[in-house]
């Protein structure tokens, strides 16, 4: 009897936490569906409308905020950053997993230390530099700086995937007359494909969610959703319904991806510090 009560109490506590965790999302959905004239009056009874979404996503919305464009910008720079990081990070991760060479550990630690560096440390000099080079408010500029987020993630996690792979597989390939390059592309790479998929999605989410870089290094052309979502809060009368709709639209991609890669998340989030 006492055990039963305890079990119910435990489930109750768990549900309480999840109410706290999910309520803001649910509330944003409610807010985003409210008609503008009912925003400040009643709370739970209203006729839902998709007007907010229409305004937020509309090309010529009366708010003058090209949110759809910001959404596309986010897609371009996040995908670009992930693609570049993969091209650069996979060979580096492989090298770090297979060879111990002079400075390898220091190099790896330097990469990881970017994870802990306050973003503004490099962003102010970059701001000055970007103004000079013409990279301010451009895709190239954003993709370059997002490497700070995506590259360490990809190198560290893929290194642990490559390390888990038995080197004998590649040795066998070499015995069969493969070159080193072929062994990498035809044996090692296909075997870590699930890892690559998971880490790419995670890196995409991190790039998508970044706020400081687009805040300071873009103004309009290359601005992303995280900065764009704030636009609806300004003005003399804050547009709660529009803000809620913008917030929800901007979290759709990361949420969908997260649900697909859930299984691999732990290793990614902790940079391989906890293997599961």
């Amino acid at each position: 009897m006492k055990r039963r009560m305890l079990a119910i109490a435990a489930d109750g506590a768990l549900i309480l936490y999840f109410v706290f965790a999910l309520f803001p999302i649910a509330w944003m959905i409610i807010l985003s569906l409210k008609p503008a004239n009912e925003l400040f009056s009643t709370y739970f009874s209203f006729t839902p409308t998709f007007d907010s979404y229409r305004t937020v996503l509309g090309a010529g919305n009366d708010e003058g905020v090209p949110f759809l464009r910001f959404f596309v910008n986010s897609l371009v720079v996040s995908l670009g950053a992930v693609a570049l990081s993969l091209a650069i990070g996979l060979p580096a991760a492989y090298a770090a997993a297979r060879w111990r060479f002079r400075g390898s550990e220091n190099l790896m630690f330097t990469l990881l230390s970017f994870r802990f560096a306050p973003e503004l440390t490099v962003i102010i000099p970059l701001f000055v530099l970007y103004q000079k080079l013409g990279l301010f408010d451009t895709y190239v500029g954003m993709i370059w700086v997002l490497q700070l987020v995506t590259l360490p993630l990809i190198v560290w996690i893929m290194r642990s995937y490559f390390s888990d792979l038995s080197p004998e597989l590649e040795q066998a390939a070499l015995l069969d007359g493969y070159t080193r390059k072929q062994a990498f592309f035809k044996v090692a790479l296909p075997l870590v494909k699930p890892g690559i998929a998971a880490v790419s999605l995670l890196a995409f989410i991190f790039a998508w969610n970044n706020f400081v870089f687009p805040l300071i290094l873009t103004s309009s052309e290359a601005q992303t959703v995280t900065v764009g979502a704030l636009s609806f809060l300004g003005g003399d009368r804050p547009k709660y319904n529009l803000t809620a709709a913008a917030a929800l639209v901007s979290v759709i991609p990361p949420l969908l991806l997260a649900l697909t890669i859930q299984r691999y998340l732990v290793r990614g989030l902790s940079f391989g510090a906890v293997k599961s």
């Binding site: 990469l111 306050p118 503004l120 007359g177 901007s250 997260a258």
Partner: protein, 319 residues
């Protein structure tokens, strides 16, 4: 962990395999190979280290929008930082925020992990959605909470009204603003601690728990003497990540309070942002960041060393 493949690079081995002999690769090229693979990453690292070095260089000048022809001022920027009360205020707020957020997230996250580990039906269903807040950009989370915390029209005060707490000025009082921003941090990142703790719990050996159960040990005793010490290395990874990240918090505060009211939530990164971007005192703003960077770097080193010690000790316990 590291495996040398050197021996297999020799062509001789492939003859025994029966395949065609591999092209002989000169020794110097073989030893160069890992470097070649890592060069692109190095270049990119350089692309980031250069601005960092440039920033460090700027801190010895008085570069600002009002002074486009900067003079060399040596350590003047740093001297000014450490003698200004606003720095010490920011440092204090940052520490309060980081310690508060990391502490609450650790306790709550481990608690949630323990509850989920029981793996009841409720737990299995809820576990699937545990990560949702974590995947929302912190700045978006802050925007969501900002809407909910509005004193007059926000849903939180509406829900609190029956309890006689209808008019709390959440983000308009110094203590309320700090607590609110910590609450947003807790909302976003508690799942992170919970996920890592849960992974840790699932990888713990079963036999000590079975032995304890046979001996009739109570829940509290098992938790304090077995679960917690064995779980600690896993939790510590999460704590380190959370503490480091909270020290350099920016987006949550920027969207929720912009450092206000007054300067009650001006954490170091916000102060640096205000100095460098808003007031365009570039050198001074970067100096703030260099100080924060140095602190984060030192604290990371100490914590990582402590983590290594703990993990070694944990590895000595036979599983």
């Amino acid at each position: 962990m590291y495996t040398s493949l050197k021996e297999t690079d020799h062509g001789a081995a492939s003859h025994e395999g029966g395949g065609p002999p591999a092209r002989a690769v000169p020794r110097w090229r073989r030893s160069l190979r890992p470097y070649l693979l890592i060069v692109p990453a190095l270049l990119l690292t350089g692309g980031i280290l250069y601005p960092f070095g440039l920033g460090l260089f700027y801190t010895f000048f008085d570069f600002a929008a009002s002074k486009p022809q900067p003079d060399m001022v040596g350590l003047e920027n740093y001297r000014r930082i450490f003698t200004e009360t606003s720095f010490w205020n920011s440092a204090w707020v940052t520490v309060l925020y980081a310690v508060g957020a990391a502490a609450v997230e650790t306790v709550l996250g481990v608690g949630v992990a323990l509850l989920l580990h029981r793996s009841t039906l409720v737990g299995r269903v809820l576990e699937k959605i545990l990560i949702l807040p974590l995947m929302i950009a912190p700045v978006i989370a802050a925007i969501m909470w900002k809407l909910m915390l509005q004193p007059s029209v926000g849903v939180i005060n509406y829900l609190l009204k029956p309890f006689g707490l209808g008019g709390v000025q959440w983000t308009d009082t110094p203590a309320g603003a700090l607590l609110s921003s910590i609450a947003v941090d807790v909302w976003v990142y508690t799942p992170f601690v919970a996920i890592l703790a849960l992974a840790g719990l699932r990888s713990l050996p079963v036999s000590p728990f079975e032995a304890a159960a046979v001996d009739g040990a109570g829940w509290w005793f098992t938790f304090r003497r077995l679960t917690l010490p064995m779980l600690w290395p896993y939790v510590l990874v999460a704590v380190i990540f959370r503490f480091m990240d909270s020290l350099k918090v920016f987006d949550i505060i920027y969207a929720l309070t912009e450092g206000g009211p007054g300067d009650s939530t001006v954490v170091l990164q916000i102060r640096a942002y205000l100095e460098a971007i808003r007031f365009q005192r570039y050198s001074f703003g970067i100096s703030y960041m260099i100080v924060l960077w140095a602190v984060v770097y030192l604290v990371t080193m100490v914590l990582v060393r402590y983590l290594g010690k703990i993990q070694n000790r944990a590895a000595e316990v036979p599983k």
